[in-house]
């Protein structure tokens, strides 16, 4: 069981404001039947993320059983490496990004115990892999042994460890002070200390602080102002000042606002309307902007954004 992460195949522009639930369910389910397309193989490095995005979208759409459970578990476990970490697909190297997806999938389908039964060394081993990527000196996290450092990995580590109940394996106070060093005067956060504020990174930093129980460190009014300025006339969010809007920021910006209790600072109706225009009403799925090619990434974050806004017909999502 594995989903292709690449572009969709269909055309049509949506002007209506209806959520095409069944089309999206069908789109996601069909992703795994596209092995006769080169794109399917070229996106293998995203497979485990793709499963997580597809699965979560299906849960939010109220079709949690649309993917076969046993095959999903088998696929996840087939991606585990000796280190305890997970790669994107069988044979791919272990990396934080996929390890987090693996944990999230297993938790979503209530199968963490499979790690003890069939995994390598149980959940403790997974936790040790994640903990081994923390920089003991400054509290940051690397993606893998080759050293790339990014607040995405820090959030991923805290997210997965908290889901496994293993947060005590890492140095939380150090991780928290690393996040603080990524804060800018606009109240938002960058990918590393000194980097420009970016909505995706705001989500990872605020999410990590939420997990660490340290939201008191966030300048909520300042950050809330910066985040609310992401909404542009047409209703969509951009990721940084003076950039184009993108459906996925409905999630990155929206959930960050929700975590600091400022989601009402933007126009939810207009945002929902923008995201709905990004649907492909004929073949299902969401794109970054109206009329563009859909993919499972934007489908997941578009739906999660709509759920956050309380859209009828969707299950409620947790912003963290």
């Amino acid at each position: 069981m594995a989903l292709v992460s690449g572009p969709g195949r269909a055309g049509g522009i949506s002007s209506d404001q209806e959520l095409h639930t069944l089309k999206h369910v069908a789109y996601i389910k069909n992703l795994d039947t596209r092995k006769d397309e080169l794109e399917y193989w070229l996106t293998e490095h995203l497979r485990l993320n793709g499963v997580y995005w597809g699965l979560t979208a299906l849960h939010l759409l109220g079709h949690p059983d649309a993917l076969p459970r046993t095959e999903t578990i088998d696929f996840v476990l087939s991606c585990q490496k000796d280190s305890g970490g997970f790669g994107a697909a069988p044979g791919h190297d272990a990396h934080m990004l996929y390890t987090v997806s693996a944990v999230q999938i297993l938790v979503t389908i209530d199968a963490v115990d499979e790690l003890e039964k069939r995994g390598l060394g149980g959940k403790q081993k997974v936790g040790s892999f994640i903990a081994s990527l923390q920089n003991k000196h400054d509290g940051s996290f690397m993606g893998d042994q080759w050293g790339e450092t990014d607040t995405r990995f820090l959030y991923g580590a805290l997210n997965a460890l908290s889901l496994l109940g293993l947060l005590d394996l890492v140095d939380i106070p150090k991780a928290v002070s690393y996040i603080q060093s990524c804060e800018n005067f606009d109240g938002a956060y960058g990918v590393t200390p000194g980097a420009e504020s970016h909505s995706g990174q705001v989500f990872t930093c605020v999410g990590a602080l939420t997990i660490a129980g340290r939201l008191d460190l966030v300048n909520k009014d300042r950050l809330g102002a910066w985040l609310s300025e992401r909404q542009i006339e047409k209703g969509g969010f951009n990721g940084r000042p003076e950039k184009l809007p993108d459906a996925c920021y409905a999630w990155w910006v929206g959930s960050s606002l929700a975590m600091i209790d400022r989601l009402h600072w933007i126009d939810g109706k207009k945002l929902a309307s923008f995201v709905l225009q990004c649907q492909d009403p004929e073949a299902g799925g969401f794109a970054d902007r109206p009329g563009n090619m859909v993919d499972v990434y934007h489908t997941h974050f578009g739906i999660a954004g709509l759920s956050l806004l309380g859209m009828e017909g969707l299950e409620e999502v947790d912003p963290v």
Partner: protein, 356 residues
């Protein structure tokens, strides 16, 4: 990666020939992938394996595991080169690194937002630093400035590019003398200026400028007077730029400058030691200057936001909000509620928290 900015098109039913061609491409790709991973598993770190890796990455630069294969092969080749006498080994290693940097160029140009390529390139340069004499590795790092300059000309907001630039500069400072390091900050300051000049909306360049100013003053051990001079130059600059008051990037830079007058964060800004009366004077001048911008731009919400922000700072510095200032804020706020319906609730919340 996820598709960004690709227009949707109607699906066209493939002809049997096209189908056949696609299946053949899949076969070729899969068989190349199999060959490469088998060779790496058997630790056959040969030139032939490296060629296979290059082919595979050219077809799919997102394949992170294959970048890791490449690191393994290169490490092996470095250590082989290390078996020769010192001069020869340095030459060989430099050659290997140079060739690899050349290999990356077209990929970086075609996929400027691919994390793995930027990442691999940094790893390679760190290897240069680890394995080569200082002068040589510095030369490699120095050339990266030219490269990242080109990349940022192609897309001046690419945050991979800006992040890479920061790292390269950081490293060059470590590899150079203190004098070289200081002149580096000045050069970067000029670079940011040039990028802002090319496009005033480029907040990435404005952001870089905020960091460079702090750096520059620190490295020059600037006096309070020099710091005040810098502040005044920046205020003049942003006022000139704000001829277009509808540009959000400019206002975020302005907001950043105003932190100088905020007692809570002033210590981390370019002019930490201003007196209370100086702060109040600057803020009053600022409010006056911004009010003038309203002429002909009465519908520009950013102006009202800045007026409110500066007036609140006055109250923060003075210790209380005067009745007049409070009345002013409320009148600007009523404009904002009209002009900025998207964020109406934010303005209502703000109104509720305004001290009486």
């Amino acid at each position: 990666m996820a598709s960004h900015g690709v227009r949707r098109f109607k699906p066209v039913e493939k002809t049997p020939e096209q189908r056949q061609q696609e299946l053949q491409k899949i076969d070729e790709y899969k068989s190349l992938e199999r060959q490469v991973s088998e060779k790496v598993a058997q630790q056959e770190y040969t030139d032939e394996t490296l060629q296979g890796i290059s082919d595979l990455l050219s077809r799919n630069p997102e394949y992170y595991t294959v970048w890791n294969y490449r690191r393994q092969v290169l490490r092996h080749q470095f250590s082989n080169a290390g078996d020769s006498d010192e001069e020869d080994s340095t030459k060989k290693i430099a050659e290997l690194i140079k060739n690899d940097l050349v290999f990356l160029m077209p990929l970086l140009r075609s996929f400027p937002k691919c994390y793995w390529i930027w990442n691999y390139r940094l790893w390679l340069l760190d290897e240069a630093r680890r394995l080569l004499p200082l002068a040589m590795s510095r030369q490699f790092w120095q050339e990266e400035l030219v490269l990242v300059g080109k990349m940022l000309t192609l897309d001046s907001r690419n945050f991979h590019g800006w992040g890479y630039r920061r790292l390269v500069v950081e490293t060059l400072k470590q590899l150079g003398t203190p004098t070289e390091s200081a002149s580096m900050t000045q050069k970067e300051f000029e670079y940011a200026k040039k990028m802002i000049g090319a496009n005033l909306s480029n907040f990435s360049a404005w952001h870089y400028r905020t960091k460079l100013i702090l750096r520059l003053l620190e490295e020059q051990s600037a006096s309070d007077d020099e710091r005040r001079k810098m502040l005044e130059d920046e205020l003049t600059l942003i006022h000139q730029a704000l001829i277009d008051p509808y540009d959000q990037s400019l206002w975020f830079y302005h907001q950043n400058l105003m932190c100088v007058f905020d007692p809570a964060v002033a210590s981390r800004t370019m002019a930490p030691n201003l007196s209370t009366s100086e702060r109040l004077q600057y803020l009053r001048n600022e409010i006056e200057a911004i009010q003038e911008m309203l002429d002909g731009a009465e519908d520009c919400k950013y102006i009202y936001q800045a007026l409110i922000e500066c007036t609140l700072l006055v109250s923060k510095v003075a210790g209380s909000l005067s009745t007049d200032d409070r009345a002013q804020i409320l009148s600007w706020l009523s404009e904002l509620k009209q002009l900025d319906p998207l964020r109406k609730e934010r303005w209502l919340d703000f109104e509720k928290t305004l001290p009486v």
